[in-house]
């Protein structure tokens, strides 16, 4: 076995290089997909009856007059320097358009992520403390049912029940029109339904995973040893088994962060939440290529690096993993 502390730095360097390679490949793919599409970017936002002089001016302004190789080169340079081009729709830098939407998505995703992980892990633990009982079966089916639901459908049901019939919660949006500035109570009211929706849908990712990995761990010899030397079941469970049983959740967390955009697109559409998800969807339908390219890129990078960090953290937590 390779010494962890000798192998780790070189492993990190190697994995980082692979990650950077992936970033370049993904960036190239993004660029290619959007520019090789029928029509190309310029057919999207130009009025066909525009005069040739005006057309040339606009193309020049957006850098579309240059040869495709040069556009690609400028795109790669631009990514690094934060110059992501002008949005066709907002005629503002794409960077600014996206940056303005980041807080809304974070305000939605961070609470739901925390809630999902905590509730999911707790449910898994409760399940596995009494495996194959009614409670276990109920919790597992509960998580699994929501897992198979379309996220937008659950959103609709909750909206109809709580906003239309019971009228206790607002029907979408992030703030009420009447409030000015940041009103915490108002924000929380708007937050409840989307967060509950996202949490219910994603619970199974963690609860079923913790349950199955704990069942596996509790079956192992070292647990039998711990029981054999007379430790209480509580101590065996929480001190010895839980540590290893929770390892797979680290991987799941890494994957989960990467899938946030997918969840955001659907959830933000249903709840009219003004974040990156609705921006992605709107920009695709408007064919606002600079914004789409940039969003794609950001989320690909987020996925690549959350995977990278997951692998490294996993290695630190689980000394059995060797780096080669």
């Amino acid at each position: 076995m390779v010494d962890v502390f000798l192998g780790l730095p070189s492993y990190i360097v190697k994995r980082s290089l692979v990650a950077i390679g992936l970033v370049i490949i993904v960036g190239t793919l993004n660029f290619a997909i959007l520019h090789l599409a029928p029509g190309g970017p310029e057919t999207v936002f130009l009025n066909p009856r525009i005069t040739p002089a005006a057309k040339a001016l606009i193309l020049k302004q957006y850098g579309l007059d240059k040869p495709i190789q040069e556009q690609y080169f400028l795109y790669l340079v631009g990514i690094v320097t934060g110059k992501w081009g002008l949005s066709y729709f907002y005629t503002e830098p794409a960077f600014d358009v996206i940056a303005a939407r980041v807080p809304a998505t974070l305000l939605l995703m961070v609470p739901s992520l925390i809630l999902t992980v905590i509730v999911g892990i707790l449910m898994g633990i409760v399940s596995v403390r009494r495996p194959y009982t009614m409670l276990d079966r109920f919790l597992s089916s509960f998580a699994f049912f929501f897992y198979s639901m379309p996220v937008f459908w659950l959103g609709f049901i909750l909206l109809t029940v709580f906003a239309v019939f019971l009228r206790v919660l607002p029907a979408g949006g992030m703030t009420s029109i009447t409030t000015s500035g940041f009103d915490v109570l108002d924000y929380l009211q708007h937050l409840i339904l989307p967060v509950v929706t996202l949490t219910l849908i994603n619970l199974a990712n963690f609860s079923l995973l913790v349950r199955s990995s704990m069942i596996e761990v509790l079956d192992q010899n070292y647990i039998m040893t711990a029981r054999g030397k007379g430790l209480s079941e509580r101590l065996v469970f929480y001190r010895h088994a839980l540590r290893n049983g929770l390892l797979p959740t680290v991987t799941m967390l890494g994957l989960f962060v990467g899938s946030i955009l997918t969840g955001a697109i659907l959830t933000e559409t249903v709840f009219s939440w003004p974040g990156l998800g609705s921006l992605t969807f709107d920009s695709i339908t408007r064919r606002d290529y600079p914004v789409v390219l940039a969003l794609f890129f950001i989320f690909s990078i987020l996925t690549i690096f959350s995977n990278l960090i997951t692998d490294i953290v996993y290695g630190v937590l689980d000394p059995r993993i060797t780096y080669d």
């Binding site: 793919l29 699994f144 897992y147 079923l208 995973l209 697109i265 695709i284 339908t285 794609f296 995977n307």
Partner: protein, 302 residues
């Protein structure tokens, strides 16, 4: 062995399979449900004769009643008829995209596992790239840039979903390659094609089958999401019915969003149960271990 005894042993195997499968009551009900759904979709024309898409003025957005059990939509059309016709879209995409994903993933995984080395590296890095790009936005872009029709939706879903399948098949192939019977074949000079398709493939058909059925719910949910987002203006589909209901739910027309969504949910759930039943029946060692489904879902996500 004579022909009749081969037939007998096949029959015996089929009946063992069925006994194991039907022991899982959830899987049995799910299968019955799916068979009924497929039949209803196939014979939709006979169940609901006439043009179900034609608007009926005067009965728009009626709640469920004896004349329209699931209510009517914003054009006064019977929602039950629309949902049965919508099953066609869902099931066609589910089977076609699921099949495409399975074929591409299986071939990629077999090649990676059999040839190893550079081929393995190339295929698996390709898979990594696909796993890195956020899938739903990628599919959205593909569908938005090409003509948004059913065929492109199927291709987009099928071509973005293969990497997980490829990983599963690759690791199974790697394990099989170390087995003696493959080594003997190689020593005897069997061709690559023989080893790939006479040994590697048949020996993991069961797990390929199970994983393909396990990927179908995800295909159904993705297809519904695409239609819900309104990028594929298909006249009759569950996702698009939900898309239309966005404009009306605030008036309390719960049936317009509830029933199409319920159809998506229950169909996806049924495929999960069937895949669980298949796995238990094809792999008796795993029988009665329900947690394995969760493990597989977790594995699939990796």
């Amino acid at each position: 062995m004579t022909n009749s005894s081969i037939a007998k042993s096949r029959l015996a195997r089929a009946s063992t399979f069925w006994r194991n499968y039907s022991r899982n009551k959830g899987a049995l009900f799910a299968l019955i449900f799916l068979v009924v759904l497929v039949l209803a979709a196939v014979f939709a024309n006979y169940l609901f004769p006439g043009d179900v898409e034609a608007p009926n003025l005067g009965v728009e957005m009626m709640p469920p009643s004896s004349s329209a059990i699931l209510g009517t939509d914003y054009l006064g059309r019977d929602q039950l008829a629309l949902i049965v016709f919508g099953a066609r879209t869902s099931l066609i995409v589910a089977f076609a995209a699921g099949g495409l994903l399975a074929v591409v993933g299986t071939l990629a995984g077999l090649m990676a596992g059999y040839y190893g080395g550079k081929m393995d590296g190339l295929i698996m890095r390709c898979a990594d790239v696909f796993l890195t790009i956020p899938v739903l936005p990628l599919i959205l872009v593909i569908v938005a840039l090409t003509t948004p029709n059913l065929l492109n939706v199927m291709f987009a879903i099928g071509l973005t979903g293969w990497p997980v399948m490829a990983r599963v098949v690759r690791s199974d192939s790697l394990a099989l390659m170390k087995r003696e019977f493959i080594e003997i074949e190689r020593v005897m000079g069997a061709s690559s094609r023989r080893i790939l398709f006479k040994h590697l493939l048949p020996n993991q058909l069961n797990s390929i089958f199970v994983y393909a059925s396990l990927s179908i719910p995800a295909v159904i949910l993705t297809e519904a999401a695409l239609e819900f987002l309104g990028l594929t203006p298909l006249s009759v589909s569950w996702g698009f019915m939900l898309n239309v209901s966005i404009d009306y739910w605030i008036r309390g027309t719960w049936w317009m969003s509830f029933f199409p969504g319920f159809a998506i949910f229950i169909t996806a759930l049924a495929f999960y149960f069937v895949s669980e039943g298949l796995k238990e029946a094809l792999n008796p060692k795993l029988k009665r271990r329900r947690e394995s489904l969760a493990v597989q879902i977790a594995e699939q996500k990796k």
